[in-house]
């Protein structure tokens, strides 16, 4: 059976390798999530008067989204035509939806960061900044989660087969990164929200990515073997270390900072792991062919079960 399943044309890939550069796009998956969740966390923090937590998060969000925009434009085959992204709005294209999301989010994030940097000294700017901060905080979660659809909406087995869980993985990863940034930059007496968000986000990220791989079938191998496997396991260790350190380091600035750094690094490794697992699964025809065979088998089994249930139903009736 396996023999028949593994046949291919001289071992050539069935799919085309994604043209995206890892640094640009995996980097964006990480930075976009970091920015989105940081804006939301900053919004909540400033609503509770924790400005020494909110300020670095706002600046971090703006920096992360700024770098994202540079990476996204840089990754285009024709960077000069980047405005074509806003030529139409297509709900069938996650990239189109994402472009509009970023077009709305980025200016708000920049404005909020600008106000945080000037310390709200200009009164006219203060109201604008409050509005911008709230807006960025509200759009932030969408910026953090849509990227899961962006990669899952492809034929790439290690991405598409995880489409059910990937949004949860990504928002967990975004929360742990934002929590990490807060832990790294805010004083101990205001860092509580970041600590909790970092810990819970990290756990969600860990559990959801395990569940995703368990349910994915053969494509999960792409996450587990070789250098991608090393990266994914490293990400899990970093996240776990970060979460534990955040939990026990409540009274220690250095331990809290270490926890923050570890959570950030773990989130980044996970995004790069997801990215490279996808590329691997696209390059190896086995993943494409076998996961399609697997799916066909599953569908046939389901159909047969329904058929036999149907016949029994008629016999009973």
């Amino acid at each position: 059976m396996t023999d028949a399943l593994s046949r291919s044309y001289y071992g050539r890939p069935v799919l085309k390798r994604p043209t995206w550069a890892a640094l640009d796009i995996a980097g964006y998956l990480f930075l976009g999530g970091l920015a989105g969740a940081s804006s939301t966390l900053a919004g909540v923090a400033s609503a509770r008067g924790r400005d020494r937590l909110a300020a670095p998060l706002r600046v971090g969000a703006a920096g992360a989204i700024g770098m994202s925009l540079v990476a996204l434009v840089h990754d285009l085959g024709r960077p000069a035509r980047f405005v074509n992204m806003l030529r139409v709005l297509k709900p069938t294209s996650p990239m189109s939806v994402g472009s509009w999301l970023l077009a709305g989010y980025a200016p708000l994030a920049f404005t909020a960061a600008g106000a945080a940097l000037t310390g709200d000294r200009v009164p006219a700017l203060r109201r604008l900044a409050r509005f911008a901060g709230a807006g960025a905080g509200l759009i932030g979660p969408a910026v953090a989660s849509y990227t899961a659809v962006l990669v899952a909406d492809t034929a790439v087995p290690a991405w598409h087969e995880g489409y059910r869980e990937l949004p949860v993985v990504f928002v967990g990863s975004a929360a742990s990164a934002a929590g990490g940034l807060g832990l790294l930059s805010a004083p101990l007496d205001e860092v509580g929200p970041a600590r909790r968000v970092g810990i819970v986000g990290g756990l969600v990220e860990l559990v959801a990515s395990r569940v995703m791989r368990r349910r994915m079938g053969i494509a999960a191998e792409a996450y587990e073997q070789g250098r991608v496997g090393v990266l994914v396991r490293l990400s899990e260790r970093l996240i776990l270390t970060g979460a534990v350190a955040a939990l026990v380091g409540r009274r220690s600035r250095p331990v809290s900072a270490l926890a923050g750094g570890s959570l950030l690094a773990g989130s980044a490794c996970l995004r790069f792991g997801v990215f490279h697992a996808g590329v691997r699964s696209a390059e190896d025809p086995r993943y494409v062919v076998d996961s399609q065979r697997e799916r066909a088998e599953r569908e046939r089994a389901r159909w047969e079960r329904r058929m036999s249930a149907g016949t029994q139903g008629t016999q009973e009736g």
Binding site: M85, D153, T154, V288
Partner: protein, 281 residues
């Protein structure tokens, strides 16, 4: 070319008439290719004529050692590709040759077109899928979206390229260059409905002649891409030719993906609000 309002909903599936689903009214019948690989002789006239007519740059002068195949697969610079499979078999010399000319499938549910963020990929009035090079910004999203690994980015140029089904030739009533050049009529061009009837007849003929492995690939409007505009008669499993056995347009699951992403975003917002409320440390 296409009217945008309805192309937004191109993943809402119609009755296998993609041109109407995209908003074309009073359009000509859908056209396509039927590639009958049982009579392909591997001459590569299709590859050459495609390159000549469309001005496609060279795809590297490489020697692969993969039988007679040195163009390796479809890509930005190879819009028709002839695969050569050598199998041990009962044929003369103990070798069975499988040759097949591959091409863009011009899917009914075309993932490349759905995911294209700029609208550079469009559905023509003939039901084909075409890239507008003056709009493409080289984002590369269609590349991993295509379940057949057809469309790709051209190095140095940055944009994506693939078979246009010779849109320019069709406009003046000529048939596509590859079909014109094919000496055995392995590549047949015409209205899709006619081709399907012809293909059904051909596969029945082969079955009667004892070729039990003959099968149609991409002909079924009920398959994962809603049926291909360019479909094939194969003599072995699709993966033997480098084709995916059961391709599905990824956008079929898109509604579910958006729902899950929205829920996740809502969860993130709620989670941060709740966790942000507690104590300061």
């Amino acid at each position: 070319m296409a009217t945008p309002a309805r192309s937004l909903l191109s993943s809402v599936r119609g009755a296998g008439d993609p041109a109407s689903d995209t908003g074309w009214e009073d359009h000509p019948p859908r056209v396509g290719f039927f590639t009958d690989t049982s009579i392909c002789i591997g001459c590569k006239a299709c590859e050459v004529s495609c390159k000549e007519w469309n001005g496609v740059p060279d795809d590297g002068y490489s020697f692969t050692g993969m039988s007679f195949d040195n163009s390796v697969g479809l890509g930005a610079d190879t819009w028709r590709h002839v695969s050569f499979v050598e199998q041990r078999g009962p044929d003369a010399g103990g070798v069975r040759w499988l040759m097949s000319s591959d091409v863009c499938k011009h899917c009914t549910d075309a993932a490349c077109l759905d995911v294209c963020p700029t609208g550079a990929l469009v559905r023509t009035e003939l039901g084909t899928v075409v890239v507008q090079p003056d709009v493409c910004n080289g984002c590369g999203y269609c590349v991993p979206a295509c379940p057949f690994g057809v469309i790709d980015q051209r190095r140095g140029d940055g944009r994506v390229w693939k078979c246009t089904l010779c849109y320019d030739r069709l406009e003046v009533g000529a048939e596509p260059a590859c079909a014109k050049a094919c000496p055995t009529d392995s590549i047949q061009f015409g209205p899709l409905e006619e081709l399907r009837v012809r293909a059904d007849r051909r596969v029945a003929e082969l079955h009667d002649a004892g070729v039990a492995d003959a099968r149609l690939y991409g002909r079924d409007p009920g398959d994962g891409v809603g049926g291909a505009g360019a479909f094939f008669l194969l003599l072995d499993a699709p993966e033997v030719y480098g084709l995916p056995p059961d391709p599905v347009a990824t956008t079929r699951d898109l509604a579910s993906m958006w729902r899950r992403a929205a829920l996740a975003a809502g969860g993130l917002l709620a989670g941060i609000v709740v966790l942000g409320m507690g104590g300061s440390r």
